[in-house]
């Protein structure tokens, strides 16, 4: 097994009396690219900020690169990259000035790569940061976070303000970064199709906990929708394990399960004399079935 890059144990975080995270467990290993999904207000940003030591956990632990998140030293921070939802930029500095300013903090700054990204994303290098569009701000934030080629990259909704073409460009850069299998990426998003393209793994945050965190292929293979037509009326309640959705209308029923195996259709045929049609679900449908 490869090296653990990030580890969260029984993490709780409350703001006043409101508990946002209520016992999060999450482990990521080197080379993983994980898409973090969750509804608005599920606590995705809070979790990422706890991981980066920007928020203090109420209980439990968060660690990145083997070091407690609240006590990260300069050497760990040099190996981390972070793109927040709102990128901080000095309004009076030009894009180029902001790049130079950021580069000065890092010994391992890849200037040629940064120049290439600025060019590819058509960022106006002489424009002041204060007058950039939201999309340009986000692009610049990503460039700044990639400049030192971080081993662990954490992105909070990185593509939210990007147009489809910029989004594809960003995903391409992410794939290039992840290509050597040594980088680890955790990104939160609402756009499930991006996760399906670039992520090796997917994690779902729901009710303050990680509901599942596993490889995307396995998730698609075990989550299926079955359309049943039985010999007699189907029961209104299902006693099957792993049921996410169960809708019955007389002798027909729609069943969504999270533990599909090749033997299940045969079991259903034997149990209810049902004809079974199996449907594959994409990540968006899986996401909705789990929320």
């Amino acid at each position: 097994m490869s090296e653990v890059m990030l580890e969260v144990k029984s993490l709780r975080k409350s703001f006043g009396t409101a508990e946002v995270l209520s016992g999060v467990d999450l482990v990521m290993r080197r080379g993983e690219v994980t898409g973090l999904l969750g509804l608005n207000g599920a606590g995705k940003s809070t979790l990422l900020r706890c991981l980066l030591g920007l928020l203090r956990c109420t209980a439990g632990t968060a660690a990145v690169l083997g070091c407690d998140s609240w006590n990260l030293g300069a050497s760990e921070k040099a190996r981390l990259g972070y793109v927040p939802q709102d990128v901080f930029l000095f309004p009076t500095l030009s894009v180029k000035g902001m790049v130079d300013y950021t580069a000065a903090f890092y010994g391992n700054w890849n200037a040629s790569r940064v120049t290439e990204l600025l060019r590819r994303w058509e960022l106006p290098v002489n424009k002041a940061c204060g007058v950039l569009s939201p999309g340009e701000r986000q692009k610049l934030g990503i460039v700044l976070a990639l400049g030192h080629e971080p081993e662990l990259l954490i992105l909070d909704e990185p593509v939210a303000s990007l147009d489809p073409s910029a989004r594809r460009g960003f995903l391409e850069s992410l794939l290039e970064l992840a290509a050597d299998g040594n980088r680890t990426v955790l990104f939160s998003t609402h756009i499930t199709s991006d996760v399906e393209r670039v992520a090796s793994d997917v994690a779902l945050l729901r009710s303050g906990r990680i509901q599942f965190h596993e490889d995307l292929d396995g998730l698609k293979e075990r989550t299926k929708r079955l359309r049943l037509t039985a010999g007699a009326s189907l029961p209104l309640q299902s006693d099957l394990p792993g049921v996410l959705q169960w809708q019955v209308n007389g002798v027909t029923g729609v069943l969504t399960v999270n533990n599909f195996t090749a033997a299940l259709p045969d079991e259903l045929r034997a149990k209810w004399g049902a004809d079974v049609v199996i449907e594959d679900l994409n990540l968006e449908e899986i996401f909705l079935a789990n929320n």
């Binding site: 992840a178 199709s193 670039v198 090796s200 292929d217 004809d275 994409n282 968006e284």
Partner: protein, 131 residues
């Protein structure tokens, strides 16, 4: 012959895992003779960049095809399509086809079709494709 990356098409937002889409396409191309023994699959990097998907997806697909004996890794060349279809591969293909046929049959029965109507549809389809 080196198989071009451009013959592969994937739909990330399909319910079928990406690696499985690639496996099915390779199998299909072998079955229809579009790729032949000795042909070389695109490299993981090449195809990953072309399709803009995680490179691990490609290596997973190629790895499974290798485990099934459909391709083998040849030093300096890459993943080369092998000569013979093994019995185990054939059994697996039959199993997968059975799943598809079952779905069609169930759909037909739900629409109230009779045995002979269903058989007729299969027959017509086979005749059309073998022409």
């Amino acid at each position: 012959m080196d198989i071009s990356s451009s013959v592969f098409v994937v739909q990330p937002s399909s319910g079928v895992p990406l690696y499985r889409q690639l496996i099915d396409q390779v199998r299909g191309m072998i079955a229809t003779g579009r790729i032949k023994p000795g042909d070389v699959l695109p490299s993981v990097r090449q195809l990953g960049a072309e399709l803009e998907v995680n490179f691990m997806t490609i290596s997973k697909a190629w790895g499974k095809l290798e485990a099934e004996g459909l391709v083998e890794h040849v030093r300096g060349r890459g993943m080369v399509v092998t000569a013979a279809r093994k019995a185990s591969v054939q059994a697996e293909q039959t199993r997968q086809l059975r799943v598809l046929v079952d779905q069609a049959v169930v759909r037909g029965l739900q629409c109230g079709m009779s045995r002979s109507e269903l058989l007729g549809i299969f027959k017509t389809s086979i005749e059309e494709h073998l022409q």
